[in-house]
């Protein structure tokens, strides 16, 4: 085997890694956004990803909407679900014992997953590719057209989020709250509203990730837990609460997984994210890009 084939093969793994990495980045952003407004991890984040794919397949197959509209409807429906969940279950406990919110979101993840099973069944569901045609060849590596969609939409979502954060009052309020919630409240920012908004945004990002990847992987009611763990691993790898770090963490995690498949075996691909998660938690909970925060005695 020539060295050229080897490098094309590596590129192929790189493509797969960047594809998964983009998805992890979106889910990680969801964790980060909710964490920034509540200081708590939303254990239901993975279910937003699941709902995005499930709503999209349902709307497309049963309501006969065109794919693009089905996608938009799925994102809206997921965001609405998240906002309702936040208003009913999270809001009454915001600002209280963080453990309470953790348990509420754990309960929410179980509930959403089971409700999805009842609503959409337990079979794997598929969605057609967003655009027809064969793979695009880059030298010896093939790039699936849907992978381009994944990259494009992920990039668009990140860009939109960046504009929101830097160019709008809402975004500035969210950033201020992330730095110091108490101070934000004192200057008149409605931090409770921001929690609701953050759940909605996190759901949009999760749903987008879930539906854009469904043509490649199919989806089912129980895909949320695994992607939630991976998204969290990505978020914490970069440093929880920092959007840039979430994106970097997602991409790094995707590439790490791909490399492990390339050099070790695919059996333990899913264990890579778990190993990363545990290693980061054990060694540097503030993340690679984060600062360690001291607790005042």
């Amino acid at each position: 085997m020539g060295s050229r084939e080897v490098s094309w093969e590596l590129l192929q793994f790189g493509v797969a890694g960047l594809k998964n990495g983009a998805i992890y980045a979106l889910v990680a952003l969801g964790f980060t956004i909710v964490y920034a407004s509540t200081n708590v991890i939303n254990f239901a984040q993975g279910e937003f990803y699941m709902l995005g794919g499930m709503f999209a397949t349902f709307v497309f197959a049963h309501l006969g909407l065109p794919l693009g509209l089905a996608a938009v409807a799925a994102v809206v429906a997921t965001a609405a679900t998240a906002v309702v969940f936040e208003l009913l279950a999270v809001r009454p406990r915001v600002g209280g014992d963080p453990m309470t919110i953790i348990i509420v979101t754990v309960g929410g993840s179980v509930l959403l997953r089971s409700l999805a099973r009842h609503a959409f069944g337990s079979d794997e569901l598929a969605l057609p590719a967003f655009s027809q045609g064969g793979s695009i060849m880059v030298g010896g590596a093939a790039i699936d057209r849907q992978t381009l969609w994944v990259w494009g939409i992920a990039a668009l979502a990140v860009a939109a989020l960046w504009v929101l954060y830097t160019r709008t009052r809402l975004g500035r309020a969210m950033r201020a709250t992330a730095v110091d919630g108490e101070a934000a409240r004192l200057v008149g920012i409605d931090t409770r509203l921001l929690v609701t908004v953050s759940f909605g945004l996190a759901a949009v990002l999760g749903a987008v990730a879930g539906l854009v990847v469904t043509p490649l992987t199919q989806t089912a009611y129980d895909v949320g837990a695994a992607i939630g763990l991976k998204g969290f691993a990505a978020a914490i790898l970069g440093g929880l609460g920092n959007p840039v770090a979430a994106v970097v963490g997602g991409i790094v995690l995707g590439l790490l997984e791909s490399l492990s498949v390339a050099f070790i075996s695919s059996t333990y691909k899913d264990a890579i994210a778990l190993a990363v998660l545990l290693l980061v938690l054990f060694l540097r909970p503030s993340g690679l890009l984060g600062r360690t925060r001291r607790e005042k005695v």
């Binding site: 708590v40 991890i41 254990f43 279950a89 009454p92 406990r93 014992d97 963080p98 453990m99 309470t100 953790i102 348990i103 509420v104 754990v106 309960g107 929410g108 993840s109 179980v110 509930l111 959403l112 997953r113 089971s114 409700l115 009842h118 837990a225 695994a226 763990l229 969290f232 691993a233 914490i236 059996t267 333990y268 899913d270 264990a271 778990l274 190993a275 998660l277 545990l278 938690l281 054990f282 909970p285 005695v297």
Partner: protein
Amino acid sequence: MSRLRTALPAVAVAAAVLALPLFVHDRYLLKVLSYVGIDVVVVLGLALLFGFAGQISLGQAAFFGIGAYTSGVLVAVHGWPWVAGVAAAVAASAAAGALLALPVGRLRGHYLAMATLGFSEIALVAFTELKGLTGGTDGLSGIPYPALGPFAARTPGANYVLVWGVAAVAYVVAANVVALRPGRALRALHGSENGAQACGIDVGRTKVVAFSAAAGLAGLGGALYAHLVGFISPGSFTLELSILLVAMIALGGMGSLPGAVLGAVLLGMLPYLDAVVPGLPKSAVEVLQSWEADIYGLVLILVMLFMPRGIAGALRRLRRERGGER
């Protein structure tokens, strides 16, 4: 004398629970109650770790599984006596719990929840992929009934007595621990780690012991389960079980052993309500079983919203408001 008097109601309850098979011959009911008894054993461990020490674990299913596989493999494959298998199961789970606690002991809140969840998923990968040992997704079958020398517990009645006997012992042990110095150290962790350190409590070591005890009891429950059912597969040790156990504590009430038992009985009985409600139509039971997870999720949310200290906490508050200070 006074200790005897306070212990009397508990002894009476234990005797009544253990004597049940003398009056009840419904095999289905006894089987269901045996499973509930196993839940009780496992939940008592989580009560020490989460209910008293405030250290959440979303990974108890992993320890339950380690116990089940350890005893299952040793007894079914290697021909160990049942007692030795169970003892090894408890030791293996407790050791795994201690090993996990060494690094995660520094973590709190959602970090701890995620770390234990991640550990649980890794254990699940191991149960599935170590096919030579565990049988992979096909599972491990032919695990014999519990037996002590010539005496084997083959009937539902015998299994019931065994499980609830173990549960009673576990309860007494846990109650003794929480009533005395080690229990105060656990509760101190929950209250304030700084305060605990200022009292001379080795916070790290206490966490290791608490994790280890909780894991050991989960492993004990897992071993009992493996020998009662005779077959185990990774599907029995998933995140759903871990969350169910947390829901039992949340419903029963943090920091209360009777609450934990109550939570385990209420939620553990739920899918088998027909065993205690004779007239219940089969369709209703099927609906209940199909919506089991939804109900657990909803229970978690509703308890946190309306009764954050669970049933025990609500009763405690009621008593305090009536002015009946202990």
